[in-house]
């Protein structure tokens, strides 16, 4: 589904991604871990099409298409979804209007007519239930004045509404209380099929107890320095990153 080859990206001349190689197949769950500032969110942003970052080398193929060539909106319509680490607040735009515009943009991309209002409301109700999102929240402006947890729930609600092929969850667990973590993770799991894939960025094993990864990668200094199965996450939880850092720095 996704093939990242030797991807390099920089901001203001500063290289942040240093040659990423990663392949994700349909049905798989990958986790990316790594110290603060190692480039995890940058990778997610580059995949979603944020032009703040300049891609200086490498390629990304998504379902056989050149992803880097597409606008952010086309990437979304092709099936990429990024749940942001820090969702922005958008005053004056209600969640309902926002998500309606998004759903209908996806439909238009596929050559479908806008969803009839009654069907849309039903669909939205269903998905809100999935993440146990408070009903009145959708009448409010996007993320404005939301608690940290509400913002994260809202991201997963959007994920549910847009049914992407590849969901990238950037620290969706941070800011969630224990119950909310379980609800959100179960929501993600319910949306999982053999045809879609998930890339989870996290610092904590506890999320991976719910969303169990097939592969775990460690990103450090803009490079994937180690990959393994789910036991790698446990090892990191126990030992931290120092041993990996030492290994990497010792080698280079």
């Amino acid at each position: 589904m996704l093939k990242i080859k030797n991807l390099k990206a920089s901001i203001e001349g500063k290289e942040i991604l240093n040659g990423i190689n990663l392949e994700i197949k349909a049905g798989e769950v990958h986790a990316i871990m790594g110290p603060n500032g190692s480039g995890k969110s940058t990778l997610a942003s580059v995949l979603a099409g944020r032009d703040l970052f300049k891609v200086t080398a490498g390629s990304v193929e998504f379902e056989g298409k050149d992803l880097l060539d597409m606008s952010p909106e086309d990437r979304s319509c092709e099936g990429i979804f990024l749940a942001f680490q820090y969702p922005v607040e958008i005053p004056g735009v209600s969640i309902t209007n926002f998500i309606k515009a998004a759903v209908n943009a996806h439909r238009e991309y596929k050559g479908l007519d806008p969803m009839p209002p009654s069907q849309f409301l039903k669909f939205m109700k269903e998905k809100k239930a999935l993440v146990e999102m408070e009903s009145k929240l959708t009448n409010r402006s996007v993320n404005e004045g939301f608690s940290g947890g509400e913002k994260k729930k809202n991201e997963i609600f959007q994920l549910a509404m847009l049914e992407p092929k590849l969901a990238i969850l950037d620290e969706t667990d941070s800011g969630l209380d224990i119950d909310a973590l379980r609800i959100v993770a179960n929501g993600v799991n319910k949306l999982k099929t053999k045809d879609n894939a998930t890339l989870v960025i996290t610092h904590y094993q506890r999320l991976l107890d719910y969303i169990v990864p097939d592969f775990v990668h460690v990103l450090y200094n803009g490079r994937i320095v180690r990959s393994g199965g789910k036991e790698l996450a446990m090892e990191l939880e126990e030992k931290g990153y120092d041993w990996i850092k030492a290994e990497v720095n010792g080698v280079s």
Partner: protein, 429 residues
């Protein structure tokens, strides 16, 4: 030899037929003309006008024109679903044919006619704010207004349907249209007014409006002004409001289109317990200039005023916001807030924003702020990352930016009307 300023004055003065009888009876016309001759039009050297290039107003040869009212289809300018008392002015002249009063016992109509039917009320209030001496625009209006709206709301009378005043300029000639409005709400009464301005021809009409509002004790006035004129038009609007004890006044100024637009609103809070809300929204593009000047005079204690003006400026257009709040020494417990926010959509778009607080009392709560910026790129990316195309995302964000002002509009029909108009302008629909 005549000076440049004298030529301007002569040019505007020469438009008018000297036979208007509107104000001559009480010598006000002579007084206004005396002021006009003595003073020059405001210009770039005058405080409050420094950012406002008035050249477009003086570069046309205007005429006044009372057209056949049959040629206008007023339905084009209706606000869908709004049941209102309608007063229609075409090129400043009252159109009896198109006007319709549906509320019972409402004393409203052409100021030319009603001033004669209610001479005592008229004499008591007309020019009670001395608005003719603001500047030469108000002076020439006082001397030669074509007609205008007169509303008198009796004690404790609450008007069930709003009053919609249509102002239309026609034809392909440069029309000079002057309307003059006088609105009085007696103790405990309530009134809602909607003024809309439209131009039919593409030529550079000049609309010069003066309005006096006397809000009696505990009365409530909700005013909405919608300006939707051609890119070549000039619009000068002066409003003076006097509020007595515990009265509520709200004015929404929505500028959808126009060439040169200047709105002056001055509110005097003349007794305690008044509440005054001024909201504004301007969408400026091309080479337009939209200028809002407000002055709130907190003369007495325990009054509250709020101002929120928001603008979106594109192309080579410019906008000016000058908001002055004066809190007098005795005006303790004043609560005054003022904000002006702008989004610039192009490199050549300009905004000049100057909120100004002058406080001479010590026990007050006042705030003011002004922000100007580009569209929030993080928010743009957020919307795009959900599949929403760039231009639609921009329109949604801009709409979100101005929605705070739309939410304040006094009724659903106006909200819908402005909603649709703005979405059309922003390209959201």
């Amino acid at each position: 030899m005549q000076s440049k300023e004298d030529i301007k004055k002569e040019k505007i003065l020469s438009v008018f037929d000297n036979d208007y009888k509107l104000l001559s009876e009480n010598g006000l016309k002579a007084k206004a003309l005396k002021f006009y001759k003595k003073n020059n039009f405001p210009g770039l050297k005058d405080e409050g006008w420094r950012q406002t290039n008035l050249t477009p107003i003086f570069s046309n040869e205007y005429i006044e024109l009372n057209v056949d009212e049959e040629i206008i289809d007023i339905n084009n300018f209706n606000i869908p679903g709004l049941e209102a008392n309608k007063l229609v002015f075409i090129n400043g002249f009252y159109s009896l044919k198109h006007s319709r009063i549906i509320s019972e016992g409402l004393q409203i109509g052409s100021i030319k006619t009603l001033s004669k039917e209610m001479p005592d009320v008229f004499k008591k209030h007309f020019e009670s704010t001395e608005i003719h001496s603001e500047n030469n625009f108000t002076a020439i209006n006082t001397a030669y207004a074509h007609d205008g709206t007169f509303v008198y709301v009796n004690k404790n009378q609450v008007i069930d349907k709003p009053v919609h005043i249509f102002n239309i300029t026609t034809t392909d000639k440069s029309i000079l249209a002057q309307t003059r409005n006088l609105v009085i709400t007696e103790i405990g009464s309530g009134l809602e007014i909607i003024e809309t301005y439209h131009s039919l021809g593409g030529e550079s009409a000049f609309t010069n409006v003066v309005t006096e509002v006397i809000a009696g004790m505990n009365s409530s006035i909700k005013w909405t002004r919608i300006q939707d004129e051609s890119q070549n038009s000039n619009h000068m609007n002066h409003m003076k409001v006097v509020q007595y004890s515990d009265s509520n006044f709200m004015c929404n100024t929505i500028t959808l289109s126009g060439g040169l637009v200047r709105n002056n609103i001055a509110v005097k809070l003349a007794n305690e317990g008044c509440n005054s809300n001024l909201f504004g929204l301007y969408l400026v593009k091309g080479k337009q200039l939209v200028d809002n000047y407000t002055f709130i005079d907190h003369a007495m204690p325990r009054c509250e005023s709020n101002q929120v003006y928001k603008g979106i400026i594109n192309d080579e257009a410019s906008a000016v916001f000058f908001g002055r709040v004066l809190v007098a020494k005795d005006a303790q417990k004043t609560n005054a807030n003022q904000t002006n926010r702008n989004v610039l959509l192009s490199e050549n778009a300009k905004i000049n924003s100057k909120p100004q607080l002058e406080i001479y009392a010590d026990d007050v709560a006042c705030s003011h702020g002004s922000t100007t910026g580009q569209l929030d790129q993080d928010a743009m990316f957020y919307l795009q990352s959900r599949g929403i195309p760039k231009n639609k995302a921009q329109a949604m964000l801009l709409y979100g930016f101005v929605s705070e002002v739309i939410d304040e509009l006094p009724n659903e029909e106006i909200k819908d009307y402005i909603d649709v108009s703005i979405k059309k302008i922003l390209g959201e629909e």
